[in-house]
Symmetry: C2
Subunit: 382 residues, 2 copies
């Protein structure tokens, strides 16, 4: 038994850590529980903050949340840098969308229509202009789009900075798995760890990504459905080739290349693989390298340093669940799928609002699991 805190955050990925940090900054006492903070989907993520470059027809309902989080990212990053003394490698020169062949160029044209409809900051580029921005792009490129406002950050640096800031602020990070949520009179009032230790709290925030459904102590349906979506991602190193991230389409397949200041290049990611097979497959590595080399030929000369599998928390309607649940005292912040890095700041802000009783901007309410249309999840065609 330890002293009760105002909130226990279950999950130490970027969402859980950012939420704990922001709750603490608002004066709440917080405990975070994760066996290995920052080693889940966050560890695999490339860190594109790309509501424009990753906007897709059919997924527009995510846009208000994504754009709001992009808007607050620079301040979030500046605060975090000040609190931790660590650099996050934030890139704010936009993201270049590139099309390899004529069909890929049509994909870009189609995206430009979507961008225009939502008034997103995107400009068509000739292949020549794209190559003058990024000379390492293949001469065979057929067209480009510059998503000027999109950014990128190094998620592993963000985790280190959040852990350092939490440490400085005296927030306890318990390196243990949460077995269950405890309830008193139906109200969530803490958690029990895998070793039986009980942590009492005024509120519980479930931010456990794909592990969210495995947290016990809750009635069926109390926690929204989250499924693991496998992604495979490569890390290469060598001569810097790009000054900004490139989101490419190569013969219809998406591939992205995210450069870091230190010479790392992150290449991802395989799409929408179901299941919990955590193996890095030969085919995924082959196809990622093939498409990356087709866009940026000199990628072939880089060193392949790391292959990673991540499991992103997907939801039936492709929207995250952020907000209160039917259970008093229980708030969720999960289901961020491919957008956990982008959405961490706005997610933390929403959870702070929920726990402190603040009024939320109405456009952020529809991401709550209690929002009426989300109780019977709709399967959106992919």
């Amino acid at each position: 038994m330890t002293r009760p805190t105002d909130a226990v955050v279950v999950g130490g990925g970027i969402v859980g850590l950012a939420t704990a940090w922001r709750l603490q900054a608002r004066g709440l006492s917080v405990t975070v529980c994760d066996r290995e903070p920052g080693t889940g989907a966050t560890h695999a993520a490339a860190g594109m903050l790309a509501p424009v470059a990753e906007a897709r027809w059919g997924d527009e309902r995510l846009l208000p949340l994504a754009l709001e989080s992009l808007r607050v990212w620079p301040d979030f990053a500046a605060d975090l840098r000040d609190a931790s003394g660590l650099d996050l490698d934030l890139h704010a020169d936009g993201i270049l969308i590139a099309g390899r062949d004529a069909d890929d160029r049509r994909i870009l044209e189609d995206l430009l229509v979507l961008h225009a409809r939502h008034d997103l900051a995107a400009a068509a580029l000739s292949a020549r202009d794209a190559r003058s921005l990024e000379p390492a792009l293949s001469p065979a490129l057929r067209g480009g789009v510059l998503a000027r406002s999109d950014m990128a950050v190094d998620p592993r640096r963000v985790v280190r900075a959040l852990l350092a800031s939490l440490d400085t602020a005296g927030v306890r990070v318990v390196r243990a798995h949460v077995a269950s949520v405890t309830r008193t009179g139906g109200v969530a009032r803490g958690v029990v760890l895998e070793d039986g230790t009980r942590l009492d709290s005024g509120a519980v925030v479930l931010a456990a990504g794909i592990a969210t459904p495995s947290v016990g102590g809750l009635p069926e349906g109390a926690v929204p459905p989250v499924r693991p979506v496998k992604g495979q991602i490569l890390r290469l190193r060598g001569e810097p080739l790009l000054t900004r991230p490139v989101q490419g389409f190569v013969h219809g397949s998406p591939v992205y290349l995210v450069p870091r200041t230190d010479g790392e290049l992150v290449i991802g990611a395989t799409q929408e693989e179901m299941g919990v097979d955590s193996r890095v497959t030969a085919r995924a590595v082959y196809e990622l390298l093939r498409d990356a080399i087709a866009l940026v030929p000199d990628v072939g000369e880089l060193e392949l340093c790391e292959t990673t599998v991540g499991f992103r928390p997907g939801t039936p309607d492709n929207l995250p669940y952020i907000g209160p649940t039917e259970i008093e005292g229980l708030t969720v912040a999960t289901g961020h799928h491919r957008n956990g890095i982008l959405l961490a700041p706005v997610t933390a802000a929403i959870v702070v609002a929920v726990l402190t009783g603040e009024r939320m901007p109405p456009e952020l309410l529809p991401y709550s699991p209690t929002w009426p249309v989300r109780r019977a999840p709709v399967v959106v065609p992919t």
Copy 2:
């Protein structure tokens, strides 16, 4: 100072270890020196024992040595298994040579002429027959050859077995780098280690692979020229796909796939890269996976477990140097290039003959660095 031994072997790759083991078996006291035994070219090697599948026009001078070593491998393996109690994963079902397109089939036809000229055990296979031997081969295959007598072994297991056997036999393995050879009146009489320790011996055997030229204490030209030849190799794991190794040609590029009994599949190897860049490049991984998947499509579903760079000791005329040198007491066993695993038993036998004053079969004499035509090395066209 320690007691002098009959021989110091410089280098603990498969060649040095096998040589030390065979010398000890003949009653000589032996010391082996290597900072990290078995971690050089041997660690990267796939372990094909393939004088037939790897026979090439222009390289026929290696054939007598290669065939003799293949002939003695089964006994060598049996002895080593008995001495160590360890299994070497020796495969003796032949190697299948596969051609992907019509041009690749012409490469096979050309090789069959070479095989016939040297009376090598090789049989043409229709694509259908090749696939009935190895059903995982692509239906798009255009032809095959079965090299019935070729074999394969796991080099890492061989190293473990050799180290265990040396240990049992009381052979000292000094985990240190040799700085120089010591000479008394011009005669090699031991070595000095990197820390200054002196090891005296009746004879010195240089088996240091690519490190051979860096051993000091010898006049220029005393040690034959050896240069590092980079190779990149992949290790995958999963459902067993092949019952025997496949040496393939895919649109003119060679690629081999060597299955192990435990489910590992070794894929290699990039050819003839010069220099000492030890990075695993994206292009090498991409091309190896591309060609392996073109031959055996289900390779795509395997897990990519390891990428390795090895530096093989190449020589100007593509033949190893095995035998006495101009310096009395100094024997070399190096320059085995892509054939170190295959040639280890015959190399050990030659060094034993040299050190014990045995008569060597005349067909094995031409690999000595003192053989007349080798003093002015000929560059063989590749």
